[in-house]
Protein backbone atom coordinates (compact mmCIF):
# COMPACT_ATOMS: atom_id res chain seq x y z
CA UNK A 1 0.00 0.00 0.00
CA UNK A 2 1.32 3.36 -0.87
CA UNK A 3 1.62 5.88 1.94
CA UNK A 4 2.57 8.89 -0.09
CA UNK A 5 1.78 9.47 -3.71
CA UNK A 6 3.44 12.38 -5.50
CA UNK A 7 2.90 13.26 -9.13
CA UNK A 8 4.52 16.14 -10.96
CA UNK A 9 5.44 18.16 -7.86
CA UNK A 10 6.70 21.64 -8.69
CA UNK A 11 8.02 24.40 -6.42
CA UNK A 12 8.52 27.91 -7.79
CA UNK A 13 9.91 31.13 -6.38
CA UNK A 14 9.70 34.59 -7.95
CA UNK A 15 13.03 36.45 -8.31
CA UNK A 16 14.43 39.56 -9.97
CA UNK A 17 14.93 37.61 -13.17
CA UNK A 18 11.53 36.01 -13.42
CA UNK A 19 10.13 32.93 -11.73
CA UNK A 20 12.58 30.17 -10.82
CA UNK A 21 11.51 26.57 -10.55
CA UNK A 22 13.50 24.75 -7.87
CA UNK A 23 11.62 21.45 -8.07
CA UNK A 24 10.69 20.57 -11.64
CA UNK A 25 8.10 17.86 -11.76
CA UNK A 26 8.88 15.20 -9.18
CA UNK A 27 6.95 11.93 -9.23
CA UNK A 28 7.35 9.10 -6.74
CA UNK A 29 5.55 6.68 -4.47
CA UNK A 30 6.46 5.89 -0.91
CA UNK A 31 5.38 2.83 0.99
CA UNK A 32 6.37 1.91 4.52
CA UNK A 33 10.00 1.94 3.50
CA UNK A 34 13.13 4.04 3.72
CA UNK A 35 13.56 6.34 0.76
CA UNK A 36 16.73 8.39 0.33
CA UNK A 37 16.79 11.64 -1.61
CA UNK A 38 20.38 12.59 -2.48
CA UNK A 39 21.62 15.71 -4.18
CA UNK A 40 23.88 18.68 -3.76
CA UNK A 41 22.92 22.13 -2.55
CA UNK A 42 20.51 23.69 -5.00
CA UNK A 43 19.26 20.33 -6.27
CA UNK A 44 15.86 20.97 -4.72
CA UNK A 45 16.03 18.09 -2.26
CA UNK A 46 15.29 20.17 0.83
CA UNK A 47 12.56 22.09 -0.97
CA UNK A 48 10.93 18.76 -1.82
CA UNK A 49 10.85 17.82 1.85
CA UNK A 50 9.44 21.16 2.85
CA UNK A 51 6.86 21.07 0.09
CA UNK A 52 5.61 17.65 1.25
CA UNK A 53 5.17 19.06 4.76
CA UNK A 54 3.39 22.14 3.43
CA UNK A 55 6.16 24.35 4.79
CA UNK A 56 6.90 26.43 1.68
CA UNK A 57 6.06 30.00 2.65
CA UNK A 58 4.75 32.55 0.14
CA UNK A 59 5.89 33.92 -2.26
CA UNK A 60 6.96 30.33 -3.00
CA UNK A 61 4.31 28.28 -4.82
CA UNK A 62 3.74 24.53 -4.78
CA UNK A 63 1.75 22.71 -7.46
CA UNK A 64 1.26 19.02 -8.19
CA UNK A 65 -1.00 16.83 -10.27
CA UNK A 66 -1.40 14.54 -7.29
CA UNK A 67 -0.15 14.91 -3.74
CA UNK A 68 -1.77 12.33 -1.52
CA UNK A 69 -0.85 11.16 1.94
CA UNK A 70 -2.66 7.98 2.94
CA UNK A 71 -5.55 8.85 0.65
CA UNK A 72 -5.78 12.46 1.86
CA UNK A 73 -5.32 15.09 -0.83
CA UNK A 74 -2.77 17.50 0.61
CA UNK A 75 -3.11 20.10 -2.14
CA UNK A 76 -6.39 21.65 -1.08
CA UNK A 77 -6.16 20.93 2.61
CA UNK A 78 -6.67 24.10 4.68
CA UNK A 79 -3.84 25.18 6.99
CA UNK A 80 -5.70 23.89 10.05
CA UNK A 81 -6.07 20.43 8.57
CA UNK A 82 -2.43 20.45 7.57
CA UNK A 83 -1.42 21.42 11.07
CA UNK A 84 -3.36 18.47 12.47
CA UNK A 85 -1.57 16.13 10.08
CA UNK A 86 1.82 17.64 10.73
CA UNK A 87 3.22 16.29 13.92
CA UNK A 88 0.47 13.74 14.42
CA UNK A 89 0.85 11.72 11.24
CA UNK A 90 3.80 13.21 9.37
CA UNK A 91 6.79 14.90 10.97
CA UNK A 92 10.11 16.39 10.04
CA UNK A 93 13.54 16.29 11.68
CA UNK A 94 15.63 19.33 10.81
CA UNK A 95 19.35 19.80 10.43
CA UNK A 96 20.36 21.54 13.61
CA UNK A 97 18.65 20.81 16.93
CA UNK A 98 20.01 24.06 18.39
CA UNK A 99 17.70 26.08 16.18
CA UNK A 100 14.68 23.82 16.37
CA UNK A 101 14.28 23.60 20.15
CA UNK A 102 12.90 26.45 22.21
CA UNK A 103 15.78 27.38 24.54
CA UNK A 104 13.65 28.41 27.53
CA UNK A 105 11.35 25.39 27.80
CA UNK A 106 12.44 22.17 29.49
CA UNK A 107 12.97 19.26 27.12
CA UNK A 108 10.27 17.07 28.65
CA UNK A 109 7.69 19.83 28.41
CA UNK A 110 8.57 20.53 24.79
CA UNK A 111 8.03 16.93 23.84
CA UNK A 112 4.83 16.82 25.89
CA UNK A 113 3.49 19.90 24.16
CA UNK A 114 2.89 17.97 20.95
CA UNK A 115 0.85 15.43 22.90
CA UNK A 116 -1.15 18.19 24.50
CA UNK A 117 -1.98 19.65 21.12
CA UNK A 118 -2.90 16.44 19.33
CA UNK A 119 -4.07 14.00 21.99
CA UNK A 120 -6.30 14.34 24.99
CA UNK A 121 -4.52 12.77 27.93
CA UNK A 122 -3.87 13.81 31.52
CA UNK A 123 -0.59 15.19 32.78
CA UNK A 124 0.62 11.93 34.30
CA UNK A 125 -0.05 9.84 31.20
CA UNK A 126 1.62 12.52 29.15
CA UNK A 127 4.76 12.45 31.23
CA UNK A 128 4.82 8.67 31.07
CA UNK A 129 4.58 8.81 27.27
CA UNK A 130 7.41 11.33 27.09
CA UNK A 131 9.68 9.22 29.31
CA UNK A 132 8.98 6.20 27.15
CA UNK A 133 9.84 7.98 23.95
CA UNK A 134 13.05 9.36 25.48
CA UNK A 135 13.99 5.82 26.31
CA UNK A 136 13.14 4.76 22.77
CA UNK A 137 15.73 7.19 21.40
CA UNK A 138 18.29 5.64 23.77
CA UNK A 139 18.55 8.33 26.35
CA UNK A 140 19.85 6.59 29.44
CA UNK A 141 18.42 8.76 32.18
CA UNK A 142 15.08 9.93 30.79
CA UNK A 143 13.98 11.35 34.19
CA UNK A 144 17.05 13.63 34.32
CA UNK A 145 16.95 14.69 30.68
CA UNK A 146 13.23 15.44 31.01
CA UNK A 147 14.10 18.35 33.31
CA UNK A 148 17.02 19.76 31.31
CA UNK A 149 16.99 22.82 29.07
CA UNK A 150 18.09 22.42 25.42
CA UNK A 151 21.43 24.20 25.98
CA UNK A 152 22.35 21.71 28.68
CA UNK A 153 22.60 18.76 26.28
CA UNK A 154 25.17 17.92 23.61
CA UNK A 155 24.50 18.10 19.87
CA UNK A 156 23.94 14.36 19.54
CA UNK A 157 21.61 14.30 22.54
CA UNK A 158 19.78 17.36 21.18
CA UNK A 159 19.19 15.60 17.89
CA UNK A 160 17.87 12.55 19.72
CA UNK A 161 15.51 14.82 21.65
CA UNK A 162 14.33 16.25 18.33
CA UNK A 163 13.65 12.76 17.05
CA UNK A 164 11.83 11.89 20.26
CA UNK A 165 9.68 14.96 19.77
CA UNK A 166 8.89 13.87 16.25
CA UNK A 167 8.03 10.25 17.05
CA UNK A 168 6.13 10.76 20.30
CA UNK A 169 2.89 10.90 18.31
CA UNK A 170 3.86 7.82 16.32
CA UNK A 171 3.63 9.39 12.89
CA UNK A 172 3.26 7.32 9.74
CA UNK A 173 5.74 9.35 7.77
CA UNK A 174 8.98 10.94 8.90
CA UNK A 175 11.03 13.29 6.77
CA UNK A 176 14.62 13.73 8.00
CA UNK A 177 16.48 16.58 6.30
CA UNK A 178 20.23 16.17 6.85
CA UNK A 179 19.58 14.86 10.37
CA UNK A 180 23.25 14.19 11.07
CA UNK A 181 25.26 16.85 9.27
CA UNK A 182 25.60 19.02 12.38
CA UNK A 183 26.84 16.04 14.39
CA UNK A 184 30.20 14.43 15.06
CA UNK A 185 31.07 11.33 13.06
CA UNK A 186 30.91 9.08 16.11
CA UNK A 187 27.37 10.22 16.98
CA UNK A 188 26.00 10.05 13.44
CA UNK A 189 25.72 6.28 13.38
CA UNK A 190 23.78 6.21 16.65
CA UNK A 191 21.23 8.74 15.45
CA UNK A 192 20.72 6.87 12.19
CA UNK A 193 20.38 3.56 14.02
CA UNK A 194 17.64 5.05 16.16
CA UNK A 195 15.77 6.29 13.10
CA UNK A 196 16.20 2.94 11.43
CA UNK A 197 14.99 1.10 14.48
CA UNK A 198 11.89 3.28 14.74
CA UNK A 199 11.05 2.72 11.09
CA UNK A 200 11.30 -1.02 11.48
CA UNK A 201 9.48 -1.35 14.79
CA UNK A 202 6.71 1.13 14.15
CA UNK A 203 6.39 0.57 10.42
CA UNK A 204 6.92 4.21 9.50
CA UNK A 205 7.77 5.53 6.09
CA UNK A 206 11.05 7.45 6.14
CA UNK A 207 12.39 9.99 3.68
CA UNK A 208 16.05 10.64 4.38
CA UNK A 209 17.33 13.75 2.64
CA UNK A 210 21.10 14.11 2.46
CA UNK A 211 24.07 15.09 0.34
CA UNK A 212 26.00 12.06 1.56
CA UNK A 213 25.75 9.25 -1.01
CA UNK A 214 27.37 6.62 1.15
CA UNK A 215 25.21 7.35 4.15
CA UNK A 216 21.99 7.20 2.14
CA UNK A 217 23.11 4.02 0.39
CA UNK A 218 23.75 2.40 3.75
CA UNK A 219 20.53 3.39 5.51
CA UNK A 220 17.87 3.37 2.81
CA UNK A 221 16.06 0.83 0.65
CA UNK A 222 15.59 3.02 -2.39
CA UNK A 223 17.35 6.14 -3.62
CA UNK A 224 16.33 9.13 -5.71
CA UNK A 225 19.23 11.20 -7.02
CA UNK A 226 18.23 14.80 -7.65
CA UNK A 227 20.01 17.31 -9.83
CA UNK A 228 18.78 20.81 -10.69
CA UNK A 229 15.24 20.12 -9.49
CA UNK A 230 14.80 16.80 -11.30
CA UNK A 231 15.24 13.16 -10.38
CA UNK A 232 18.04 11.92 -12.62
CA UNK A 233 18.33 8.45 -11.18
CA UNK A 234 16.17 6.09 -9.20
CA UNK A 235 17.59 2.83 -7.94
CA UNK A 236 17.73 0.31 -5.14
CA UNK A 237 20.27 1.35 -2.51
CA UNK A 238 22.55 -1.65 -2.98
CA UNK A 239 22.69 -0.94 -6.71
CA UNK A 240 23.86 2.65 -6.29
CA UNK A 241 27.36 1.75 -7.38
CA UNK A 242 25.98 0.43 -10.65
CA UNK A 243 24.32 3.79 -11.34
CA UNK A 244 24.23 4.83 -14.97
CA UNK A 245 23.44 8.53 -15.06
CA UNK A 246 26.58 10.65 -15.66
CA UNK A 247 25.74 12.89 -12.70
CA UNK A 248 25.48 9.99 -10.26
CA UNK A 249 28.61 8.42 -11.68
CA UNK A 250 30.47 11.72 -11.48
CA UNK A 251 29.35 12.26 -7.91
CA UNK A 252 30.47 8.80 -6.86
CA UNK A 253 33.85 9.24 -8.53
CA UNK A 254 34.54 12.63 -7.00
CA UNK A 255 34.50 11.35 -3.42
CA UNK A 256 38.05 10.68 -2.20
CA UNK A 257 38.70 7.16 -0.92
CA UNK A 258 40.59 6.08 2.15
CA UNK A 259 43.24 4.42 -0.04
CA UNK A 260 43.34 7.34 -2.46
CA UNK A 261 46.10 7.17 -5.05
CA UNK A 262 44.62 9.35 -7.79
CA UNK A 263 46.66 12.47 -8.42
CA UNK A 264 43.54 14.44 -9.28
CA UNK A 265 39.92 13.81 -8.44
CA UNK A 266 37.50 13.67 -11.37
CA UNK A 267 35.33 16.76 -11.50
CA UNK A 268 31.72 16.92 -12.65
CA UNK A 269 31.26 18.21 -16.16
CA UNK A 270 28.14 20.24 -15.41
CA UNK A 271 27.66 21.37 -18.99
CA UNK A 272 27.47 17.76 -20.21
CA UNK A 273 25.03 16.80 -17.47
CA UNK A 274 22.86 19.83 -18.15
CA UNK A 275 22.63 18.81 -21.81
CA UNK A 276 21.82 15.22 -20.89
CA UNK A 277 18.70 15.91 -18.85
Amino acid sequence: MSLLHVENLRVRFPTDHGEVEVVKGLTFDLGRERLGIVGESGSGKSMTGRALMGLIAPPGRVTADRLEFDGIDLRNLPESGLRRLRGARMSMVMQDPKFSLNPVIRIGEQIGEALQFHRSMNARARKQAVLEVLEAVRINEPERVYRLFPHEVSGGMGQRVMIAMMVVLQPDLMIADEPTSALDVSVRATVLEILDDLVRRRGMGLILISHDLDMVARWCDRILVMYAGRVVEECAAEKLHEATHPYTRGLLASVPQLNETRRRLPVLDRAAIGAGT
Binding site: F13, T15, D16, H17, A57, G60
Partner: protein
Protein backbone atom coordinates in the same frame (compact mmCIF):
# COMPACT_ATOMS: atom_id res chain seq x y z
CA UNK B 1 17.32 55.98 -16.27
CA UNK B 2 16.89 57.06 -19.84
CA UNK B 3 20.56 56.82 -20.66
CA UNK B 4 21.44 53.49 -22.15
CA UNK B 5 24.36 52.99 -19.81
CA UNK B 6 22.11 53.16 -16.76
CA UNK B 7 19.70 50.55 -18.09
CA UNK B 8 18.03 48.15 -15.69
CA UNK B 9 20.06 45.22 -16.99
CA UNK B 10 23.29 47.13 -16.61
CA UNK B 11 22.47 47.98 -13.02
CA UNK B 12 21.25 44.48 -12.13
CA UNK B 13 24.16 42.75 -13.86
CA UNK B 14 25.56 39.86 -11.86
CA UNK B 15 28.98 40.54 -13.33
CA UNK B 16 29.74 44.24 -13.01
CA UNK B 17 32.84 45.29 -14.88
CA UNK B 18 33.89 48.16 -12.68
CA UNK B 19 33.70 49.12 -9.04
CA UNK B 20 31.37 51.98 -9.96
CA UNK B 21 28.93 49.68 -11.70
CA UNK B 22 28.93 47.33 -8.73
CA UNK B 23 28.21 50.18 -6.31
CA UNK B 24 25.49 51.72 -8.47
CA UNK B 25 23.92 48.29 -8.89
CA UNK B 26 23.77 47.79 -5.13
CA UNK B 27 22.27 51.24 -4.69
CA UNK B 28 19.67 50.56 -7.39
CA UNK B 29 18.63 47.28 -5.77
CA UNK B 30 18.25 49.08 -2.46
CA UNK B 31 16.16 51.87 -3.93
CA UNK B 32 13.98 49.40 -5.77
CA UNK B 33 13.32 47.43 -2.60
CA UNK B 34 12.45 50.69 -0.87
CA UNK B 35 10.08 51.73 -3.65
CA UNK B 36 8.05 48.57 -3.13
CA UNK B 37 7.12 49.85 0.32
CA UNK B 38 4.43 52.53 -0.14
CA UNK B 39 4.59 53.83 3.45
CA UNK B 40 8.34 54.34 3.17
CA UNK B 41 7.76 56.32 0.00
CA UNK B 42 5.22 58.51 1.82
CA UNK B 43 7.89 59.08 4.49
CA UNK B 44 10.49 59.87 1.87
CA UNK B 45 8.11 62.30 0.15
CA UNK B 46 7.56 64.14 3.44
CA UNK B 47 11.31 64.35 4.07
CA UNK B 48 11.99 65.56 0.54
CA UNK B 49 9.21 68.13 0.92
CA UNK B 50 10.80 69.29 4.18
CA UNK B 51 14.17 69.65 2.45
CA UNK B 52 12.68 71.59 -0.47
CA UNK B 53 10.65 73.85 1.78
CA UNK B 54 13.67 74.55 3.97
CA UNK B 55 15.90 75.23 0.99
CA UNK B 56 13.52 77.65 -0.70
CA UNK B 57 11.81 79.09 2.37
CA UNK B 58 12.28 82.79 1.48
CA UNK B 59 10.79 82.23 -1.96
CA UNK B 60 7.93 79.99 -0.89
CA UNK B 61 6.79 81.93 2.16
CA UNK B 62 4.17 84.52 1.16
CA UNK B 63 5.01 86.92 4.00
CA UNK B 64 7.87 87.78 6.30
CA UNK B 65 8.12 85.36 9.22
CA UNK B 66 9.19 88.07 11.65
CA UNK B 67 7.12 91.11 10.74
CA UNK B 68 3.38 91.39 10.86
CA UNK B 69 0.84 94.12 11.20
CA UNK B 70 -0.99 94.42 14.45
CA UNK B 71 -4.26 95.18 12.61
CA UNK B 72 -4.12 91.63 11.33
CA UNK B 73 -3.51 89.91 14.64
CA UNK B 74 -5.17 86.56 15.37
CA UNK B 75 -6.91 86.25 12.03
CA UNK B 76 -8.42 82.81 11.38
CA UNK B 77 -7.22 80.83 8.35
CA UNK B 78 -8.34 82.52 5.13
CA UNK B 79 -7.32 82.76 1.51
CA UNK B 80 -4.89 85.54 2.38
CA UNK B 81 -3.41 83.71 5.39
CA UNK B 82 -3.85 79.97 4.88
CA UNK B 83 -2.91 79.16 8.45
CA UNK B 84 -4.11 82.39 9.97
CA UNK B 85 -2.02 84.91 11.88
CA UNK B 86 -0.63 85.01 15.38
CA UNK B 87 -0.91 87.50 18.20
CA UNK B 88 1.56 89.88 16.52
CA UNK B 89 -0.20 89.65 13.16
CA UNK B 90 2.50 87.46 11.60
CA UNK B 91 1.51 84.96 8.94
CA UNK B 92 1.68 81.50 10.56
CA UNK B 93 2.24 79.69 7.26
CA UNK B 94 5.35 81.77 6.60
CA UNK B 95 6.58 81.13 10.12
CA UNK B 96 6.03 77.37 9.79
CA UNK B 97 7.89 77.41 6.45
CA UNK B 98 10.85 79.28 7.91
CA UNK B 99 10.67 77.09 11.03
CA UNK B 100 11.45 74.07 8.88
CA UNK B 101 14.97 75.45 8.49
CA UNK B 102 15.47 75.53 12.24
CA UNK B 103 14.06 72.04 12.67
CA UNK B 104 16.25 70.65 9.93
CA UNK B 105 19.30 72.43 11.31
CA UNK B 106 18.77 70.94 14.77
CA UNK B 107 18.04 67.44 13.47
CA UNK B 108 21.05 67.31 11.17
CA UNK B 109 23.46 68.76 13.69
CA UNK B 110 22.35 66.29 16.35
CA UNK B 111 22.73 63.38 13.91
CA UNK B 112 26.16 64.54 12.78
CA UNK B 113 27.43 64.84 16.34
CA UNK B 114 25.83 61.87 18.07
CA UNK B 115 25.77 59.09 15.45
CA UNK B 116 29.52 58.97 14.68
CA UNK B 117 30.36 59.33 18.37
CA UNK B 118 28.06 56.48 19.33
CA UNK B 119 29.22 54.35 16.44
CA UNK B 120 32.89 54.66 17.31
CA UNK B 121 32.42 54.13 21.04
CA UNK B 122 30.21 51.09 20.40
CA UNK B 123 32.45 49.51 17.78
CA UNK B 124 35.62 49.96 19.86
CA UNK B 125 33.88 48.64 22.93
CA UNK B 126 32.48 45.58 21.21
CA UNK B 127 35.64 44.83 19.26
CA UNK B 128 38.09 44.86 22.13
CA UNK B 129 35.77 43.49 24.83
CA UNK B 130 37.28 42.98 28.29
CA UNK B 131 38.02 46.01 30.41
CA UNK B 132 37.80 48.45 27.48
CA UNK B 133 34.22 47.28 27.02
CA UNK B 134 33.46 47.55 30.73
CA UNK B 135 34.78 51.12 31.02
CA UNK B 136 33.19 52.42 27.83
CA UNK B 137 29.85 50.75 28.43
CA UNK B 138 29.80 51.87 32.07
CA UNK B 139 30.28 55.38 30.82
CA UNK B 140 27.56 54.89 28.21
CA UNK B 141 25.15 53.51 30.78
CA UNK B 142 25.60 56.60 32.94
CA UNK B 143 24.43 58.78 30.07
CA UNK B 144 21.76 56.29 29.06
CA UNK B 145 20.21 56.26 32.51
CA UNK B 146 19.51 59.98 32.48
CA UNK B 147 16.17 61.11 31.11
CA UNK B 148 16.74 62.93 27.86
CA UNK B 149 14.58 66.00 28.33
CA UNK B 150 15.71 66.59 31.91
CA UNK B 151 19.37 66.23 30.87
CA UNK B 152 18.83 68.64 28.04
CA UNK B 153 17.11 71.03 30.42
CA UNK B 154 20.03 70.86 32.83
CA UNK B 155 22.55 71.52 30.07
CA UNK B 156 20.62 74.41 28.62
CA UNK B 157 20.12 75.84 32.07
CA UNK B 158 23.88 75.71 32.62
CA UNK B 159 24.95 76.89 29.15
CA UNK B 160 22.17 79.37 28.54
CA UNK B 161 19.20 79.06 26.18
CA UNK B 162 19.68 79.03 22.40
CA UNK B 163 19.59 76.67 19.43
CA UNK B 164 23.28 75.68 19.57
CA UNK B 165 23.09 74.79 23.23
CA UNK B 166 19.88 72.87 22.66
CA UNK B 167 21.64 70.89 19.92
CA UNK B 168 24.61 70.10 22.17
CA UNK B 169 22.29 69.08 24.96
CA UNK B 170 20.25 66.76 22.75
CA UNK B 171 23.34 65.26 21.09
CA UNK B 172 24.89 64.45 24.44
CA UNK B 173 21.82 62.52 25.46
CA UNK B 174 21.35 60.82 22.07
CA UNK B 175 24.69 59.09 21.43
CA UNK B 176 24.56 56.31 24.08
CA UNK B 177 21.75 54.56 22.20
CA UNK B 178 23.90 54.35 19.07
CA UNK B 179 26.84 53.10 21.10
CA UNK B 180 24.66 50.31 22.49
CA UNK B 181 23.41 49.34 19.04
CA UNK B 182 26.87 49.41 17.46
CA UNK B 183 28.27 47.31 20.30
CA UNK B 184 25.52 44.73 20.08
CA UNK B 185 26.02 44.53 16.33
CA UNK B 186 29.81 44.23 16.70
CA UNK B 187 29.48 41.42 19.23
CA UNK B 188 27.58 39.29 16.72
CA UNK B 189 30.51 39.16 14.32
CA UNK B 190 33.51 39.97 16.52
CA UNK B 191 34.67 36.37 16.44
CA UNK B 192 33.59 35.79 12.84
CA UNK B 193 36.17 34.28 10.55
CA UNK B 194 36.27 37.25 8.21
CA UNK B 195 37.51 39.39 11.10
CA UNK B 196 40.11 36.75 12.04
CA UNK B 197 41.14 36.65 8.39
CA UNK B 198 41.95 40.36 8.17
CA UNK B 199 43.69 40.24 11.52
CA UNK B 200 45.78 37.39 10.16
CA UNK B 201 46.76 39.56 7.25
CA UNK B 202 48.41 41.99 9.63
CA UNK B 203 45.75 44.70 9.62
CA UNK B 204 45.96 46.98 12.66
CA UNK B 205 43.07 47.17 15.13
CA UNK B 206 42.23 50.68 13.93
CA UNK B 207 42.03 49.44 10.36
CA UNK B 208 39.88 46.46 11.27
CA UNK B 209 37.46 48.65 13.22
CA UNK B 210 37.32 51.42 10.65
CA UNK B 211 37.19 49.39 7.44
CA UNK B 212 35.55 46.15 8.50
CA UNK B 213 33.56 46.59 11.71
CA UNK B 214 31.99 50.03 11.33
CA UNK B 215 30.60 49.49 7.82
CA UNK B 216 28.64 46.53 9.16
CA UNK B 217 27.20 48.58 12.04
CA UNK B 218 26.34 51.44 9.75
CA UNK B 219 23.01 50.26 8.39
CA UNK B 220 21.41 49.54 11.75
CA UNK B 221 22.69 52.89 13.04
CA UNK B 222 21.29 54.75 10.04
CA UNK B 223 17.93 53.10 10.59
CA UNK B 224 17.97 53.99 14.25
CA UNK B 225 19.02 57.60 13.61
CA UNK B 226 16.17 58.02 11.12
CA UNK B 227 13.69 56.63 13.61
CA UNK B 228 15.15 58.86 16.34
CA UNK B 229 14.75 61.98 14.22
CA UNK B 230 11.13 62.17 15.32
CA UNK B 231 12.23 62.07 18.96
CA UNK B 232 14.87 64.72 18.34
CA UNK B 233 12.32 67.01 16.72
CA UNK B 234 10.00 66.50 19.67
CA UNK B 235 12.77 67.16 22.19
CA UNK B 236 13.80 70.31 20.32
CA UNK B 237 10.18 71.40 20.22
CA UNK B 238 9.88 70.59 23.89
CA UNK B 239 12.88 72.77 24.69
CA UNK B 240 11.43 75.49 22.47
CA UNK B 241 8.09 75.14 24.25
CA UNK B 242 9.76 75.56 27.63
CA UNK B 243 11.58 78.61 26.29
CA UNK B 244 15.00 76.99 26.47
CA UNK B 245 15.60 76.30 22.78
CA UNK B 246 15.29 78.81 19.97
CA UNK B 247 14.56 82.27 21.29
CA UNK B 248 11.86 84.59 20.02
CA UNK B 249 11.30 85.96 17.48
CA UNK B 250 12.77 82.89 15.70
CA UNK B 251 9.89 80.82 14.27
CA UNK B 252 10.77 77.55 15.97
CA UNK B 253 7.76 75.22 15.97
CA UNK B 254 7.90 74.31 19.63
CA UNK B 255 8.21 77.94 20.67
CA UNK B 256 5.29 78.81 18.39
CA UNK B 257 3.07 76.26 20.11
CA UNK B 258 4.14 77.67 23.42
CA UNK B 259 3.07 81.18 22.40
CA UNK B 260 -0.18 79.87 20.97
CA UNK B 261 -1.05 78.13 24.20
CA UNK B 262 -2.54 81.34 25.58
CA UNK B 263 -5.14 81.46 22.81
CA UNK B 264 -5.78 77.74 22.42
CA UNK B 265 -9.52 77.98 23.14
CA UNK B 266 -10.45 81.00 21.05
CA UNK B 267 -7.76 81.06 18.35
CA UNK B 268 -6.98 77.36 18.05
CA UNK B 269 -4.93 77.70 14.84
CA UNK B 270 -2.06 79.56 16.45
CA UNK B 271 -0.90 76.50 18.38
CA UNK B 272 -2.36 73.82 16.11
CA UNK B 273 -0.66 74.70 12.81
CA UNK B 274 2.96 74.29 14.01
CA UNK B 275 1.73 71.21 15.89
CA UNK B 276 0.64 69.70 12.59
CA UNK B 277 4.02 70.48 11.10
CA UNK B 278 5.78 68.63 13.95
CA UNK B 279 3.46 65.62 13.69
CA UNK B 280 3.79 65.34 9.92
CA UNK B 281 7.57 65.66 9.83
CA UNK B 282 8.02 63.23 12.74
CA UNK B 283 5.73 60.77 11.03
CA UNK B 284 7.71 61.15 7.80
CA UNK B 285 10.96 60.21 9.53
CA UNK B 286 9.29 57.28 11.32
CA UNK B 287 7.78 55.84 8.14
CA UNK B 288 10.98 56.24 6.19
CA UNK B 289 13.01 54.73 9.04
CA UNK B 290 10.73 51.70 9.18
CA UNK B 291 11.06 51.21 5.44
CA UNK B 292 14.83 51.56 5.64
CA UNK B 293 14.97 48.98 8.37
CA UNK B 294 13.12 46.46 6.22
CA UNK B 295 15.57 47.03 3.39
CA UNK B 296 18.88 47.46 5.22
CA UNK B 297 18.56 45.18 8.21
CA UNK B 298 19.62 41.69 7.15
CA UNK B 299 17.96 40.16 10.17
CA UNK B 300 14.42 39.02 9.53
CA UNK B 301 14.95 39.03 5.79
CA UNK B 302 14.64 35.54 4.36
CA UNK B 303 16.71 34.89 1.28
CA UNK B 304 15.75 32.03 -0.96
Amino acid sequence: MSMAIFSRDWLLSEDPETRAQARLGQFYRLMRALMRNPLAMVGLAIIVALLVVAAFAPWIAPYSPLQGSLQNRLQPPSSAHWMGTDELGRDILSRVIHGSRITLYIVLLVAVISAPLGLIVGAVSGYFGGWVDKVLMGFTDIFLSMPRLIMALAFVAALGPGIENAVIAIAITAWPVYARIARAETLTFRTAEFISAVQMQGASHARVIWRHVIPLCLSSTIVRVTLDMAGIILTAAGLGFLGLGAQPPLPEWGAMISRGRAFILDQWWVATMPGFAIVIVSLGFCLFGDGLRDVLDPKGKVKV
